[in-house]
Symmetry: C2
Subunit: 346 residues, 2 copies
C-alpha cells in the first residue's frame, strides 16, 4: 500500500510499504477513504520535533472496515467508521470517565509504530473502544464524509477546549488561535455550547473572517499590540472562559492575561514552551485545564451534530488533494496557504 | 508604637514608629493582641524576595478595634476581631463570588505601605469587608484566641488548597509540604471535608507526626527518592486530589507527578519557580487551580469550627514569644526549630 513516511524537516514522502495486518484480537484493519493533515503535523514538518526517520504520519482518517480480529464485537467488514487521533480500550476507568486520551492502553496514530493515517490502510488497536460507526445518512453522503474528517481531531479538540474552559450557555469566551482547532472551538462555543459572546484572536484576516462565519461575535488580530487591552476593556477585566489553541509562549501568556480573575483557561495547544505564566495563573486565580482531547468521548455527539447540519466544520478543509499529493498538502499548510488539507485516499 | 521593620536578609528589627491613623472612612484601627510569623515571611527573611528596606512585616493578627472611620457600619471600638492576610471591600463582583483575594480593592498587609501585622496597632482598610468579629465564646477564651491566629492565613490557605483541589468527602488526597499550610490542609481534608485517605509528604519526621495527629492516614518523606513511586502504588496510579503547599520546583513537579490523570492540583504555595511542569499537566489532563487563598470567605466557617473544637490548629503554633522577641521568632522558623511562631503583643 501507499503510506506517507517522515524523512526529516520538510521531507515527507509517499512510499510503497507493506500492508498492515491484524496483530491482536481487538484490532481492525481499516481501508482509509479520507484523511487529513493536522496543524500539529507541522511541528515535525518544521523540525521542531523529530519523530524519527521512517516514522509514519497522520492521525486523522475515516474509512471502511476491511477486517477485524476475533475479539472485535461491535464492528465488521464493510462498516464505515471514524477514528479519533488516539486509540483507547473503552473499558478502563479513564475511558469510563470519558478521558480516553488517558486510557491505560492509549496510543497515538502516526509515529514510530509505523501505523499512520495518511495511508491507504491502517491497523486500529482496540477497535471496539476506538472506532465509531457512521450513521447511514453520513456513510452515504460524500460531502458529509469529507467534513467528518474534521471530527477526528480538530473539531473534537476545539470542543474539548471549550468544555475544559468550563464554558456555559450565555457566557463569554475568548479563543486564542485561528488555526483549525481555534476555529472549531469558535464553532463549538457558538453552536454546541451556546455562548453569547465569542471573541476570536488570530493573525490571519481571512481566518478571522471564517471565525465570524463560525459564530465569533468579535475578532482581534494578535499582531496588534493593543489586543490584550482591548479584550480586557470589552470583557470588563477579562473573560471567564479562554481557549488556548496554539501552544506557544505568546499564546499561553495571552490566554492567561485575558482571563478574568477566577476564570478558566482550557489549553489544547500542545505546549511548546517552558515558562508557563505561573504568577498570572496564581495571582489571578486562573484555573488551567486541558490536554490531548478525549475526542472519542465527543464523536457520537459531533457526528450527530454534523448529520443534522447543526455544525459544519467543512470550511476549514479548504484544500482537497489526492493522497499522492500529500507533500504538496504539507507545504500548503506550512506556508499557510491552506487552513487544513483533506486527502482523498480511495 | 512598636512595629517590626524589614532591613534586609535576616535583618528584622522592632522599632518605634508613628501610630497609624484613619485615612479613609472605611478604615478601622485595630490594637493587635496576637500576631504570628508566616512561612511566606521567610522568603524575604532569606533574601529570596526584597520588599524594600523600611517595609513593615506581618499579615496575621487578631486584636481589638480601637477606632473606626465614619463609613464603618458593622464594627465598633471594643470588638474583638480577626483579619485575613488581605483586605477586600466585601462588595465587588469578586468578593460576592467569594474570591476576596481578587477584590478590585485588594491589598496585602505588610510590605511597602508601612502597615504590617507584627506591630501593636494596624490600620485595616475596608474594615467592614475585611474584619470578622469573633464570637463571645472565642473572645473570652485565651487559648482559642491564640489558636485563632492560625486562621488568618495558614488554616484558610490550607483549606482553600483542599477546596481548590476539588477534594470530596471519602476521596484520596496528597498534601505536598509539611509546613503550617500543608499541615492545615491535612486538618481541613480530614476534619472539614472528610477525605478518607490523606497522604502527607514532607521532610521533617516531627512535622509528619503532627500531620498524623491532624488526620493524615499515610506519611512519606520527600527526601526518599522512592516517594513518588510509593504514592503511585498506594493510590494505584495517582491521587485525584493534590495540594501543593510549598511553592518550589520540586514540590510542584511532585504534585503534578502524583496526580491521577484527570486529577486536580490545588496550588497554594506562592510559585518561586519558572518551569511549570506543563507537559505533565497537559498529557495527564491535570487541572491546576490555586492562588492566594480568599481566606475571608472561609473565616466564619473556620471560626465556628474552632469554637466547637471541630478543628484545632493550635499545635502548629509551637513557639510563643512576646513581640519584643520577633527577631528570635524569625530565626527559629528560618532554622526550622519552630513550625510557626505566635507573637503575644498586648
Amino acid at each position: 500500500m501507499k503510506a506517507c513516511v517522515y524523512y526529516g524537516s520538510r521531507d515527507i514522502r509517499l512510499e510503497d510499504v507493506p500492508d498492515p495486518s491484524l496483530k491482536d484480537d481487538g484490532d481492525a484493519i481499516v481501508r482509509i477513504t479520507r484523511a487529513s493533515i493536522c496543524g500539529s503535523d507541522l511541528w515535525f514538518y518544521r523540525g521542531v520535533t523529530n519523530p524519527g526517520t521512517g516514522s509514519r504520519t497522520g492521525h486523522e482518517f475515516v474509512g471502511v472496515v476491511e477486517d477485524v480480529g476475533l475479539g472485535v464485537r461491535t464492528l465488521r467488514a464493510g462498516d464505515v467508521v471514524i477514528a479519533p487521533f488516539a486509540w483507547s480500550d473503552g473499558t478502563c476507568e479513564f475511558c469510563r470517565e470519558g478521558l480516553q486520551t488517558s486510557c491505560v492502553h492509549v496510543g497515538f496514530f502516526g509515529g514510530e509504530e509505523k501505523n499512520g493515517g495518511q495511508a491507504e490502510l491502517i491497523r486500529v488497536p482496540y477497535a471496539d473502544g476506538t472506532l465509531v460507526k457512521m450513521s447511514d445518512a453520513i456513510a452515504s453522503d460524500d460531502d458529509k464524509l469529507d467534513a467528518s474528517v474534521a471530527l477526528c481531531d480538530v473539531m473534537g479538540t476545539g470542543h474539548f477546549g471549550v468544555v475544559a474552559a468550563d464554558t456555559k450557555p450565555g457566557s463569554s469566551l475568548v479563543v486564542i488561535g485561528d488555526g483549525a482547532v481555534g476555529l472549531c472551538a469558535v464553532l463549538s462555543a457558538s453552536r454546541i455550547i451556546g455562548a453569547d459572546r465569542v471573541i476570536a484572536v488570530g493573525h490571519s484576516s481571512k481566518r478571522l473572517e471564517l471565525a465570524r462565519r463560525f459564530g465569533a461575535t468579535h475578532i482581534f488580530n494578535s499582531n496588534d499590540t493593543d489586543t490584550q487591552r482591548q479584550i480586557a476593556e470589552l470583557t470588563r477585566g477579562g473573560a471567564p472562559h479562554v481557549v488556548e489553541a496554539v501552544g506557544n509562549q505568546e499564546s499561553i501568556d495571552l490566554a492567561v492575561n485575558v482571563a478574568r480573575p477566577g476564570g478558566t483557561v482550557g489549553f489544547v495547544g500542545v505546549p511548546h514552551y517552558e515558562k508557563a505564566p505561573m504568577e498570572g495563573i496564581f495571582y489571578n486565580h486562573v484555573t488551567l485545564r486541558g490536554g490531548p482531547a478525549p475526542v472519542r468521548q465527543y464523536l457520537p455527539q459531533l457526528i450527530s451534530s454534523l448529520e443534522t447540519g447543526h455544525i459544519d466544520p467543512s470550511p476549514i478543509l479548504d484544500t482537497k488533494l489526492p493522497l499522492s499529493r500529500v507533500a504538496d498538502g504539507y507545504a500548503a499548510m506550512d506556508e499557510r496557504r491552506a487552513i487544513k488539507v483533506l486527502l482523498k485516499v480511495s
